[in-house]
Symmetry: C2
DNA sequence: ACATTGTATTTTGTATACAAAATACAATGT
DNA sequence: ACATTGTATTTTGTATACAAAATACAATGT
């Protein structure tokens, strides 16, 4: 694996693990929204210098997790309800298009991979929530990746991050969403691009609306 | 302006002008696709050190203009036809959604701003190509910005860059696209979200298909 | 002639030094 | 008591030094 390779060679770029660690710290709340990142302090904490830390911070800035105010410093971004909703709207556009593209591709292997995400849950009476959350994440990532459209994946990645940060992995119960997932898959299987896009969008829209009403 | 401010204070972040200069060099071919960026060489050329250059390069990497191979260096990315088409597909998804959102907003001021882009060309017999190219760029940017959806703007920015890099500012003649632009605006004005999205998508799709057939 | 090894040179990744800007806070004035 | 000014401290932005990796290329062997 990539990471192992980095460990093997002594003088590899240390920015990647810093980046991952910082992301983790933002996700689990060790670094709070709005908090200022004092570079030397964090660098000392992680046992590195400011140079690779800066690299990691710039990567995080590009993912919208960190905000830079020139000459003032880097701050952990804070997200209000409006921004979360806006991200869901982006996902509607991107995942909708992805479903459309997949429907047009008519590739059996694609259908199989999508079905495989949720087949373990089809005949189980009690759905394991952790497993389903994981499957849900894989499904939505696959939807994008399987299009083979690299730029689409790149712009989706940004939104995906946010969803994880905000921390509502599952907004609605599996009983409700499992069926929606299969509606999307079946439309793709049939090659019905309009329906595939429509279902993919509605699926996200429902979660967004529920989030909004809270 | 922001830039002027940077010139006024002595010790401001020098990364921004480096970033802009490098982007310019990529756009106008001073730096060629696939070319390696030898950091010290470019830093000397621009009269700065490697530290702010690296910042600029990381920003460009996030815009997909530059590619980093760890321990090997930074390279100017090269784009094949597939990737250009993929970017157009992204634009279809994003601009389509933007048109939909604007149609739902029913804001007179929005309609006015969109109309203003092309009103100078309405009664002119001979359309100035440079002015129209500029107006076209403004219109497509406005379409996104006016939604007030910051994440949407952010992910669009990435695709927009590319279009400029690739350098086909205008793929089709104004006589053909002017009408399409107004079809989009009128659908937004009517509040017909479906039509607005549809027209916005078709507009981009036509350019994409023309590009593909070449 | 071509492949392989070993050495010199170049280039990257990281740490660090230093100047300028930002910030904290005490001293002073009203 | 509160605002304002001035000074000390902190922090950022940039340049630079240095080690390790990558690369170029000559020397050697087949």
């Amino acid at each position: 694996m990539y990471t192992k390779y980095n460990v093997m060679i002594q003088h590899a770029n240390i920015s990647e693990p810093i980046y991952l660690r910082l992301k983790e710290m933002i996700l689990n709340g060790e670094l709070k929204q709005g908090e200022k990142i004092v570079q030397e302090k964090i660098a000392d904490m992680l046992g590195v210098s400011r140079t690779p830390l800066m690299k990691a911070l710039l990567a995080l800035e590009n993912e919208y997790l960190v905000e830079s105010i020139p000459r003032r410093g880097m701050y952990i971004r804070s997200w209000d309800k409006k921004e979360i909703i806006d991200i869901y709207i982006c996902r509607e556009a991107i995942e909708g298009m992805a479903a459309r593209l997949l429907a047009q591709s008519k590739d059996e292997n694609i259908i199989k991979q999508l079905r495989d995400c949720f087949s373990p849950f089809l005949n189980s009476k009690e759905i394991n929530l952790d497993a389903y959350t994981e499957a849900d994440e894989v499904f939505h990532s696959l939807l994008i990746k399987l299009t083979g459209n690299a730029p689409l994946d790149k712009i989706y990645f940004f939104g995906n991050i946010h969803e994880k940060v905000i921390g509502h992995g599952l907004i609605r119960p599996p009983e409700e969403t499992l069926n929606e997932h299969f509606k999307i898959i079946k439309a793709i299987e049939k090659g019905d691009a309009d329906a595939a896009e429509q279902f993919a969008r509605e699926h996200i829209k429902k979660s967004r609306e529920l989030l909004f009403d809270q």
